[in-house]
């Protein structure tokens, strides 16, 4: 038995989330007194694969196959299932991102393995195997027992600290038969080099209280100075002031940065549902009774247009910019 982690790569590179997964898996493996194997699908150089060893993977299995170049959920499920069976994995850990959400439930059916999704903590116990997950869009949490022999967990991004260890991982190329994908990509529109909202540790977000799409300059600047990403509330993206990719909230992106700065956002339940996993929430709003202050640890009551430039100034000083 073993704990298997599927570590996705982005153009041949891993990201912080990949190492979070391995760190988490190492702790789960400790609870089960076993080791961690990482599975990589696609072309990743050996020195990049080796990085996974630095967080506790003892074996790295690499599958390179032309039929896996296009992401096809059915195909990827097949690859992970074959590798899981080959190594006798009892726990499979995957990121709770677009890929993980597409693959993990299929894998659950294929392996008849119970799935605990959007998990943010270590299992509460391994016998019975009980996980702790977000429920009711963040307004509650629940203890869920995974009742099958094999278990699958999808881990929320930025919910687990990195734990570095000595690196003694072996890399093994695994040959697996992969069918031709049934998904055909016709067109790709992709921005490269931009910090993804879901990867950002600091997020500065604006709501209707920003009053106009022309007022966004200092908010964007604050995010830049702090090395963070920008986001917005639903009315802002609905009005077309900012792109839909920035919408955070129940029906938009669900994020869990370390620091979430909400500017001119009143804090409707649906918005909070998307950001309640943030470690710290800062609210800037001219209405002191806005519900956002109930979930914020730091707040300023006042006019965002006057406050933002002051924050930019102070942040620049702190950052030496």
């Amino acid at each position: 038995m073993s704990v298997l982690v599927y570590t996705e790569n982005w153009d041949g590179k891993f990201k912080k989330v990949s190492f979070e997964l391995i760190s988490y898996a190492s702790k789960v493996a400790e609870m089960l007194n076993t080791d961690v194997a990482a599975l990589s699908i696609g072309n990743v150089a050996n020195d990049e694969l080796q990085k996974l060893g630095g967080y506790g993977a003892s074996k790295i299995l690499s599958v390179e196959n032309d039929n896996a170049k296009v992401f096809d959920a059915q195909n990827y499920t097949g690859i992970i299932a074959q590798v899981a069976e080959k190594i006798g994995a009892k726990v499979i850990i995957i990121a709770n991102n677009n890929t993980g959400k597409a693959v993990a439930p299929r894998l659950s059916v294929k392996l008849k393995a119970a799935l605990g999704a959007s998990v943010s903590k270590l299992p509460l116990s391994v016998s019975p195997f009980t996980i702790y997950k977000r429920s009711f869009s963040g307004s509650a949490f629940s203890d869920v027992e995974l009742k099958t022999d094999i278990k699958i967990i999808t881990l929320t991004q930025n919910s687990f600290e990195l734990i570095e260890t000595a690196n003694n991982a072996t890399i093994e190329k695994v040959d697996i038969n992969v069918d031709a994908p049934k998904t055909e990509v016709i067109d790709v529109q992709k921005q490269t080099g931009k910090l993804l909202l879901t990867d950002a540790e600091i997020v500065v977000s604006g709501g209707r209280g920003m009053k106009s799409p022309d007022n966004w300059g200092p908010l964007v600047e604050l995010a830049e100075v702090l090395g963070g990403a920008t986001a917005c509330s639903r009315p802002v993206s609905d009005e077309g002031w900012r792109s839909h990719e920035e919408h955070t909230g129940q029906t938009g992106k669900i994020i869990a940065p370390n620091l979430y700065i909400a500017v001119g956002i009143s804090g409707a339940t649906q918005h909070i549902a998307g950001v309640s996993g943030s470690k710290y929430i800062v609210a800037i709003n001219n209405d002191k009774s806005a519900p956002i202050f109930e979930v914020a640890q730091y707040g300023i009551v006042g006019d965002a247009q006057k406050i933002l430039p002051q924050l930019v100034e102070a942040a620049k000083q702190v950052k030496g910019k």
Binding site: K101, P105, S108, S135, Q189, G299, L311, A314
Partner: protein, 249 residues
């Protein structure tokens, strides 16, 4: 061509949830039940596609797994414009159970496009659509933000990290939809509400399937500490405070 939209019945998204029986069950007293927001958007998009004659889509059916008490939610979907509905008469015990029931429905009725919301706003599993596809051994496309059908050929836009991809796949397939699939949910008009009363709800008895998971206990999130306020005139102090207390700046 036929579209199936799978719908879930969830507490209104502004509900302050409470639990009962030693925090093992949702306290349903006073809860307003609604169609899961993503499912409502799916249904809206399915109807928009059907409205366009060049799509070749002839019917939109909704399917739901739930006891008879959930019928008002199904009637609402019919009032919004679904042609017919299917209810599997069972208390949904977990995502695997629900997907297995829906798989049986799809096997019996045959659909070309099956639409599921990316998650339900209550148990947040993001599971049923993909599980259903695996049970049927058909493709699934996740994070779908646009779906078009031209002469019975579906063209799907899916969100990827940092952008989007336009893809095609064979039918039948499951589209797991998210934000962007439709702008605003379609609202039932009086005529729709009247017509919904006479539209059929076909009843299925459940197939025997064991749930793979069980919810043991619920808890409310820990209360966050009270908000520390910084005076607007000295807004700069916020940065110093964040630097010293959170160590994140």
């Amino acid at each position: 061509m036929k579209i199936l939209v799978c719908i879930s019945n969830v507490p209104d998204t502004t509900t302050k949830v409470k639990f009962t029986d030693g925090d093992t069950k949702l306290d349903t007293a006073g809860i307003q039940w609604v169609i899961n927001p993503w499912d409502e958007l799916s249904l809206t998009r399915a109807l928009e596609i059907k409205d366009d004659a060049s799509s070749g889509v002839k019917s939109v059916t909704v399917a739901h797994v739930g006891p008879v008490t959930t019928e008002p939610t199904i009637r609402k979907a019919l009032a919004i414009g679904a042609d017919s509905a299917i209810r599997v008469n069972a208390e949904p015990s977990d995502a695997y159970f629900v997907a297995a029931q829906l798989a049986e429905v799809v096997k019996q009725e045959q659909f070309d496009i099956i639409m599921c919301g990316i998650e339900s706003s209550d148990y947040n599993g993001s599971m049923v659509g993909s599980m259903l596809a695996e049970m049927l051994n058909i493709p699934s496309i996740s994070a779908v933000s646009n779906l078009k059908v031209e002469n019975e050929k579906p063209i799907v836009t899916r969100e990827i990290d940092g952008g989007k991809e336009v893809v095609s796949t064979s039918t039948p397939f499951v589209a797991i939809v998210q934000k962007g699939i439709a702008k605003e949910p379609r609202i039932a008009a009086m005529r729709g509400i009247m017509m919904a009363r006479s539209k059929p709800i076909k009843l299925y008895e459940p197939v025997a399937v064991d749930a793979l998971t069980s919810y043991k206990k619920f808890e409310l999130p820990e209360a966050r500490p009270a908000c520390k306020f910084v005076d607007a005139e000295n807004a700069k102090d916020l940065i110093a405070l964040l630097q010293s207390e959170t160590k994140l700046i």
